[in-house]
């Protein structure tokens, strides 16, 4: 076991690479040089190092700062090219704030964010704009994020125009046609307005709009949470398909572990601004170690009454405490059924328990 102050470098980049290589060898029979090179040289497309985002809480007309909302409080992880990291946690755990920090929509209080090796936190607005061609975020609400007075074809091209990358009229409509077809929309509908589309179709339009810039990385923030099951399944599968087609990397944010797990290679579980557990998605649901993760798993019912009703359920009581005054010790201690004195006094650090599995819990590590 090794404790990790700075993220998760110590438990073997070497090993991770070897594992990937083995898989490749099995699949292709031999390993092309290029693959080896990219795997070793440009393993991570994104690396987030110890990021904190505090919002000041002010009082009175002088706006005197009285406290901080510690929305994101020391987060580190990395995303491999062409892969997906899922981020799950309850409402208010800081998922959207983290996404906005990576996008540089928010100026981080502390920490660094490397995208393709460049530290985004140091870039000028002009350089950032170039990065935004590669790095896109699709947000929570498909209704609010489309301008109702804009034809969807123009909405899709908006980003391209802002980047100064718009081509001739013919090239533009060609681009709109391609991305609309990629996301399963009828391209002849480009002249219609958002209200003429259903919720699921509007979400597809938002995806098409992000794809128009041909990004290499997309942050998806609760992109399916508002959709009904059958459409949710279509959109999740669509994300998987375009990832394979375009070698995209994703951060997939959500509160439903069953949805996030479906698309993610790796999952980070967030609680009150911190990662409490992080590992491969299959490992997470088979061998979850953190009591919070176990409660999240338990909150997802199985659509089979006999099996679901026979399950032992760990229901979380109460709500997430305020991020202004997070609990002393382990942040989860106020809701944890295993909490003891040590948990209330000493904050557990994110520790590696082998097998690319990290957990911040006194009980899980000593057990």
């Amino acid at each position: 076991m090794c404790v990790l102050p700075c993220g998760f470098h110590c438990c073997g980049k070497g090993r991770a690479v070897k594992m990937i290589n083995n898989k490749q060898v099995k699949k292709n029979g031999h390993l092309p040089y290029e693959t080896v090179h990219t795997e070793v040289g440009q393993d991570n497309i994104l690396r987030v190092e110890n990021v904190r985002m505090y919002f000041p809480v002010t009082k009175g007309i002088l706006k005197r700062k009285i406290a901080d909302v510690k929305a994101v409080d020391g987060i580190s992880f990395a995303v491999k090219r062409g892969k997906t990291i899922g981020i799950v946690g309850e409402s208010g755990s800081g998922k959207t704030t983290l996404g906005n920090c990576i996008m540089q929509n928010l100026k981080v209080t502390e920490g660094r964010i490397f995208f393709e090796g460049t530290d985004l936190t140091t870039l000028s607005t002009r350089d950032l704009r170039k990065i935004h061609k590669e790095l896109q975020m699709i947000t929570q609400n498909p209704y609010a994020s489309l301008d109702p007075r804009m034809k969807i074809g123009d909405s899709i091209l908006e980003g391209v125009r802002l980047q100064g990358l718009a081509g001739s009229k013919k090239e533009n409509s060609e681009l709109v046609r391609t991305v609309m077809e990629t996301v399963g929309l009828t391209s002849s509908h480009a002249d219609r307005y958002p209200h003429e589309f259903s919720g699921g179709q509007r979400q597809r339009i938002c995806i098409a709009r992000a794809l128009a810039l041909q990004p290499s990385f997309i942050i998806c923030d609760e992109v399916v949470s508002a959709l009904d099951v059958s459409i949710q399944a279509q959109i999740v599968n669509l994300f998987v398909e375009i990832q394979e087609q375009m070698n995209l990397s994703y951060i997939f944010i959500g509160h439903d572990l069953s949805v996030v797990r479906y698309i993610s290679d790796q999952i980070a579980v967030m609680y009150l601004g911190k990662i409490v557990e992080m590992t491969d998605s299959e490992e997470l649901y088979q061998h979850s170690l953190h009591p919070y993760t176990q409660a999240l798993i338990s909150a997802v019912p199985i659509p089979n009454p006999t099996r679901d009703r026979a399950r032992e359920r760990v229901l979380l009581e109460g709500e997430v405490p305020s991020p202004i005054h997070p609990p002393e010790g382990c942040r989860f201690c106020t809701r944890c059924r295993y909490a003891d004195r040590r948990c209330r006094e000493e904050e557990p650090s994110l520790a590696c328990v082998g097998n690319n599995h990290y957990v911040a819990c006194h009980k899980a590590v000593s057990a």
Partner: protein, 335 residues
């Protein structure tokens, strides 16, 4: 089975707009028993909300109109009584939590006052009594620090607490039926699970029947006694929760259940999708199976006639010509 409290019979509601008639609810029938937990599921636009609003005569007219059927509450047809009598039923006998939560709570009134008001109006309680009752309901819904919370305004509540307050308000007059239209959809899954658990406990202690409209099939499997599957304004299949999830017969029901991502299965189990678009206005006017365009089992007859609901077993009805074609898929589901 316990007594029937509500019997919906051949209920049909349409909207009449420039584009002609839209059959939002088309000839649906079902019973709700005392204390029963009934779930209504189906994709967006299938008529769940409109069918619930029709029970309480709350569909906007125009453009909406209840064009046929009966809604028997005990033995009274709610579609025939006077507006004044209906008002009385709405407040105290059948209450409803609406789909848009923002509209349901009054932002300038304390939570306590909002819950106490119907008690004073319908149950003629004193102010003090009503407040005591409100506090007890809020604590049953697991709201912490009730004494303090009861004096707060809705905006001081988190989404989950607002939802709990709304349930407390709707349950305050001990209605015989609570209609809850997606009370938890906007909340995260852990809170959804908590709120539903508390609602269910409350139901068991008061014997109120619940008609829950939701997209969350998992929670339905966990709590409901019976399930109606709606599609394009009709009920395609209905039965006990066990019938629907463990012995589903309709191709649409199967598609819907298989679209739920499952934690108890390996990833390779896959996420199934139902191809195509929901039933359009035109589709609903045709005299064939509503699901035919999207159905992988469809044959000639499905394009020519409307399948009638047939009994699979007691209380388990399915409207499909080829309910037995789905056997293999059913087996796969239970794997």
């Amino acid at each position: 089975m316990q007594d029937t409290v509500l019997s919906v019979q051949h209920l049909s509601t349409s909207f009449f707009t420039d584009e002609g008639e839209l059959k939002a609810v088309d000839d649906i029938s079902y019973d709700v028993h005392q204390g029963e937990f009934v779930a209504l599921i189906g994709e967006s636009g299938s008529g769940k909300s409109v069918s619930a609003l029709s029970i309480l005569r709350l569909v906007g007219d125009p453009p909406g109109k209840i064009v046929g059927g009966k809604v028997l509450f005990h033995d009274t047809d709610l579609l025939q009584i006077s507006d004044k009598e209906m008002q009385e039923v709405r407040g105290s006998k059948i209450s409803m939590i609406f789909q848009e939560p923002a509209t349901a709570l009054n932002p300038v009134m304390t939570i306590g006052n909002q819950i106490a008001e119907p008690l004073r109006v319908h149950k003629k309680m004193s102010k003090q009594q009503a407040f005591r009752e409100a506090a007890s309901l809020l604590s049953k819904m697991k709201i912490p620090n009730v004494e303090q919370r009861i004096k707060q305004y809705p905006m001081e509540f988190s989404g989950g607490m607002q939802q709990r307050a709304m349930i407390a308000m709707a349950m305050s007059c001990q209605p015989e039926i609570l209609i809850a239209d997606e009370p938890t959809t906007a909340l995260d899954v852990t809170v959804q699970a908590q709120v539903l658990e508390e609602l269910n406990q409350l139901r068991l202690s008061t014997n109120t029947a619940i008609l829950l409209i939701t997209h969350n099939l998992g929670l339905v499997a966990r709590y409901a006694d019976s399930v109606k599957i709606m599609y394009g304004g009709r009920i395609l299949e209905m039965g006990s929760t066990y019938d629907i999830f463990e012995n589903p017969h309709h191709p649409y029901t199967l598609g819907l259940i298989r679209a739920v991502p499952r934690l108890d299965q390996p990833k390779s189990y896959g996420l199934h999708t139902i191809k195509g678009e929901p039933a359009s206005q035109e589709d609903r006017m045709m005299n064939n199976c509503l699901f035919v365009k999207r159905c992988k089992y469809a044959t000639d007859i499905c394009w020519k006639q409307q399948p009638k609901a047939e009994e699979i077993s007691e209380g388990h009805m399915c409207a499909c010509f080829h309910a037995d074609f789905t056997a293999a898929e059913r087996e796969e589901l239970l794997r």
